[in-house]
Every structure is written in C-alpha cells, then in structure tokens.
C-alpha cells in the first residue's frame, strides 16, 4: 500500500516540475558494417540501424505510458564514424552523414550521434576526411551530431586538431548561415569524452561498448529547484548542508525513474542496459532550468559571485544521489549549463550577469563545458581555437570531461539574437575577449599530457 505523500509527491513532480526521462539512446556498433566499398557499407549500416531501431520509439512510448513518465527524446548513438569508415574520403563521409540522417528519420529518432573522431594524439586519414566533411555534412543533414575528441588527461591536447576545429567551426557556421549557424549546434569538441554518453551532441558508442546497448539520460532541474523551494518554506534555518541533502535525495528519485524506464525498454528490446547518465539537463521551458536553481539557492542569477561554488555543490550532490540509485552510472553525469537551451541561463547571459569568462570558470566544476553559446559571426577561427584550448586544458588537468559547443552566428554581432528553435532554444550573442591568440594557435603541435602526481 502506498502512502498519500508518495503518490501526491510523484504526481506533483510529473505535472508541475517537468519530471521526465530526457533521452533513451540506443547505442549501435557499426564495426561489423565496415567495408572498403561505400555501397556495401551503407547497405549494412542502414540494415543494422533499421533492425535494432525499428521499434525503439514504440517501446519508449509504451513504457513511458505505463509509468506515466514521458520519454522526451529517443536517439541513436553509433561507433565513431572516422574509425568505422577510416578508408573513406571527405565526399564519402558527407554521403555517410546523409545516409545516417535518412536512417535516423526512418527510425523516428530526433538525433543520431557518433559522426565523430578521436584525435587527441593524432589524426588518421579517416579522421581528417571526417573533419573536412563537417561543413557540408552538417549543412545537408538535420539530425546527425558530431563530436571530435581533441584532448585527454592521458594524451594531452592535440593543438593541430584544436586549430583545425576552430577553422571548421567557422566553416560549419558559414555553411548554415541561413539558419544562424545551426550546424555548430550539432558539433562539439571534447576533452576526455566518455564512451557511453546518451546526450547530444556528444553521444557516440565507444570502441569498448557492446554491439547494441540502451543508455538513458535522466532529467530533473525543475524537480530539484522545486524541492529546494519547498525546503526553504518548511525549514526555518535552512543551511547549505540541508540544500545539498535535498539535491542528493531528489537526484536519487530522478535517477531511479531513468533506471526503471531504461531497464524496461532494454528488456523489451532484448538488448543490454548500459548506464544512466545523471546529468541535470535543462530545456528552454520555464521551470525546467538549471539556472533557476542558482536563484533558489540565493544568488541574484547564475553568473553572480558564488555561482561556481553553487555549481560545484549541485554537481557533486547530483552524483552522490544518482550513484546510489543506479547500478550503472556513466556518460557525463553532472549539471549542464547550455546557454541557449536554458531560459534562465540565457537571460543571465543576455543582461551581462553571466559572461564568457564566468562560464569558463564554472566549467571547471560542471560536467560539460562552454555549451550552446552564440558568439559574434566574425570571431576569428584562432580565437575559437583559443577558447577550445582553454577548455581542453581544464578537462585535461582536472581529469574530467569538458567540451566546447559555440556558434559563431554568421552576419550577426554582440546583442543580436540567434534563434535555433525547439530544444536548442535561442540566445543573444555575447562578447568574446578580443585578444589575439593566432600566433599561439599557429604554433601547432601537442600540449604534453600532465603529470598525475604533485596535485596542487
């Protein structure tokens, strides 16, 4: 027999606090599809994706209805295309991307991730072909996402790749200039990319992963915010210790939902369950925002002094609650601060309360990095590479995942608005430091891997 509080609290989380499962992501290995013949490769990939993903959406909807918890996004992640198609040239990579886009549409998923490369120590011809193909590939497709890992704590930072990605991000933006450079919203540069990320744009299926697997991305910033607000109403002398406890307990609940639904979808599809990714992922909807949590904890907005401390506490408490709730935790697991995808963060950036420098500082304690930030369209490629290098350094030194997903909006400058639509939201363009990084970036080479002792 359930108690009133258990039922009412659950119903409230669902109806008023945006509790949902943000994504069920079907990982599909494409290594057994590899062929020197593009047509054979293409046929095998389409057949394999169709075989496993045909009923993904249907199963997710059924399980979501059974528990009354919507599975908002259904997605596919694949083996890194630059490895699977290592023998292809850039034109063939564009065709591969288009083929994957068709496969994603056929399966009814909103995004497919894994059109990417792992180049933290160096580049193969396949990696280079894929990176060269990005402007056309991302401009001529809708649902394919790309992630390029250019740094790791074990390998250091591949600064040649960082320089190249700065240039490619500009080209991708220019290739989608009619849509405010939306191609860049589907392209992310990583340090220490996890092999089992279910979230976009970083989702891919690593080389140590099973043939097929279900990974789940939970949600819940709205649930966490409301829980903190309730605690403030009921506790007269609430301290940050209490707030951390509230976040931890709430993360437990949210993760249990993801685990239950992910395991049931995996069971129905007769494939293994991989991990629950504990990330607090916002959407542009009011009440589903990570930024609002900062206000609930007492800051005027995200970006105010104290923001990095709040984010550190939030991230850690989410992990502590989530780890107990799920037998397998992975992916990014933390709090996301994607500017355009979170109405409160976007508002703070819009009014100048949140700057690029503060965002960078916060990424040293959050799970991802500079995410969904609109910057002036004329930002030099070397400046973008400089931003990437800084972010990669934070990830490399702190042995954590960091990433950069910035959108240089073609033809637009500071203060103008870029509109991406849907989950990607919209954002005012914020200024980037105008200092010149070109001579540094043009040096190329690699920043050596850091020492792993003498931690200070």
């Amino acid at each position: 027999m359930l108690t009133e509080r258990e039922v009412l609290s659950t119903i409230n989380m669902l109806r008023n606090e945006h509790l949902d499962v943000r994504t069920v992501t079907l990982g599909i290995s494409l290594f057994d599809c590899a062929s020197h013949d593009f047509d054979v490769f293409s046929y095998k990939v389409r057949a394999k994706i169709a075989k496993y993903a045909a009923h993904l959406v249907e199963h997710c909807n059924e399980v979501g209805a059974r528990y009354g918890i919507p599975v908002v996004n259904k997605r596919i992640s694949i083996s890194p295309m630059a490895v699977v198609g290592a023998g292809f040239n850039a034109d063939q990579m564009v065709r591969a991307c288009q083929m994957l886009d068709e496969a994603a549409k056929e399966a009814g998923v909103d995004f497919l991730g894994g059109f990417g490369a792992l180049v933290e120590k160096g580049m193969t011809p396949g990696d280079r072909a894929l990176i060269d193909s990005l402007p056309e590939a991302l401009a001529t497709t809708d649902r394919v996402c790309s992630s390029i890992n250019v740094a790791s704590s074990k390998a250091g930072i591949n600064m040649d790749a960082v320089a190249l990605m700065g240039r490619q991000i500009r080209k991708v933006a220019d290739a989608t200039s009619d849509r405010d450079g939306i191609g860049c919203a589907k392209l992310v540069v990583f340090a220490n990319i996890p092999q089992d990320v279910p979230f976009m744009a970083g989702a891919y299926l690593g080389i140590g992963e099973p043939d097929v697997v279900i990974n789940v991305g939970v949600s819940g910033p709205g649930v966490v915010k409301k829980a903190i607000d309730r605690a403030k109403e009921t506790h007269e002398s609430l301290t940050l210790s209490d707030v951390a406890e509230v976040i931890k307990s709430t993360a437990y609940k949210v993760t249990r939902v993801g685990e239950l639904i992910g395991k049931e979808v995996a069971g129905r599809m007769h494939i293994p369950f991989g991990v629950a990714d504990l990330s607090l992922a916002p959407t542009p909807a009011v009440g589903d925002s990570v930024g609002e949590i900062f206000q609930s904890v007492g800051l005027s907005s995200i970006g105010a002094p104290g923001s990095t401390a709040v984010l550190a506490m939030l991230n850690d408490a989410v992990k502590k609650g989530g780890v107990f709730a799920s037998s397998h935790v992975g992916g990014l697991s933390g709090a996301f601060i994607p500017v355009s995808e979170d109405s409160s963060i976007e508002a703070a950036a819009n009014c100048g309360a949140l700057t690029m420098e503060k965002l960078e500082a916060m990424t040293s304690v959050c799970s991802v990095g500079l995410d969904m930030i609109a910057i002036p369209g004329d930002t030099p490629a070397t400046t973008i590479s400089g931003l990437i290098a800084d972010e990669m350094a934070i990830g490399m030194i702190n042995t954590k995942t960091t990433a950069v997903r910035v959108i240089p909006v073609p033809g637009k400058g500071v203060g103008e608005t870029a509109i991406f639509g849907g989950l990607l939201g919209q954002a005012k363009i914020i200024p980037v430091n105008t200092g010149d990084a070109s001579a540094f970036i043009n040096l190329g080479g690699r920043i050596p891997a850091p020492i792993h002792s003498l931690k200070n």
């Binding site: 027999m1 359930l2 009133e4 258990e6 039922v7 609290s9 009354g68 918890i69 939902v257 239950l260």
Partner: protein
C-alpha cells in the same frame, strides 16, 4: 473452528483495540488478521478471527459490543461468518495506481469506479484526500489490480475520456514507479 469476520466502526479513543481484543480473548477467539484505520477521528477496523465451535457470530457481536459499552465507547460492531469463496481474480494482474484530482462533486467516485466495475478491475485500496480544508480540491488514489488481458491503451483512453468529461485530471501508472522513486529496494 469457526472463522468469523468482525467490523467495528465509530468514535476513536485510546483503548478501543484493547476493548475489542480482550473481549475476543475471553471467548478463546484468536485474531488471525486485522486491519484498522482512522479517518478524521473515526475508527474503522476489520478482524478475521478463529473461534471455538460453540461460539458463533452473534455471540461475538454481543460480547464485543458489551465490552465497548462498558467503557462508554461509541462504536458499532458487526460480525458475520467468514466465507472463504470470496472474490479472487483468476487471471494474472498487475498493480496500477489511478490518481484523479479536481473539484470535488458527489459523482466522482461513482463515475470512475463504474469504469473499473465494468472492466472487472478490482479496487484493492482507495483513498480520497482533500488537498486543504479551505478548497474544494480533492484527490482520489485508486490502487487497482489490472488483469493482463485488458488492453492498456483502451483502458487508459476510457479513463481519460471519463475524467475529461468531468473536468478532472487523471494519471494511470504502474505501481513500480512510486516504489522506485520513494523506497530503497528491499533485498
């Protein structure tokens, strides 16, 4: 041994359970199972007891009533023979929770339970909660055993249509989601 089912309902006060159980004990009756609850100061309980062959339900009703009266307790007692061939769903079921909320009006429970009755879905537990005394907002929580043979989508649509026609919000969820969210698993 006779098996007898007893229900006691009325004003709650300390000592009610003692008054009932001590009377049963004097008659050499063993309480095998019982359930009790209190709703707004009203006590309600159901006892299943095994009684010696020479003790029948009328005897039980009399002694328990006398025991309560002797203590000036205002409760009503009813007793009847326990019938073992009670309703049990012959097919496999799953536990679902149906939560309905909206402005309270007389026919809500009848309308929703009518759907369950028509579909042969047994209500195993039901609570009606007033959200706060000042408002007319009520919440009904039905815990039901949903036979596997019932089409889930059709059942869901039927309930949604019924709730919508009365301006109510409704959720139909497998019970496991509540357990998953609020309880540490029993191992």
């Amino acid at each position: 041994m006779n098996h007898i089912v007893i229900s006691v309902i009325g004003h709650d006060c300390p000592g009610v359970v003692y008054a009932i159980s001590s009377a049963l004990s004097k008659e050499k009756c063993n309480i095998e199972e019982l359930s009790q609850t209190i709703l707004k100061g009203q006590f309600a309980s159901i006892f299943i007891v095994s009684a010696p062959e020479d003790v029948n339900e009328e005897d039980i009703q009399r002694v328990v009533s006398l025991s309560l009266e002797a203590r000036n307790m205002d409760l009503t007692v009813a007793a009847r023979t326990f019938e073992t061939d009670t309703f049990s769903c012959s097919e496999e079921t799953e536990p679902f929770v149906v939560t309905v909320n909206g402005s309270d009006r007389p026919e809500i429970i009848a309308m929703i339970s009518g759907v369950f009755a028509e579909q042969k879905v047994n209500i195993e537990n039901l609570k009606a909660i007033r959200v706060d005394e000042s408002s007319n907002e009520c919440v009904l929580v039905f815990e039901v055993a949903l036979p596997l043979s019932i089409n889930r989508n059709a059942f869901r649509q039927m309930l949604h249509a019924k709730a919508r026609s009365m301006g109510l919000a409704i959720s139909i969820q497998h019970e496991n989601i509540f357990e998953a969210i609020h309880r540490v698993p029993i191992v």
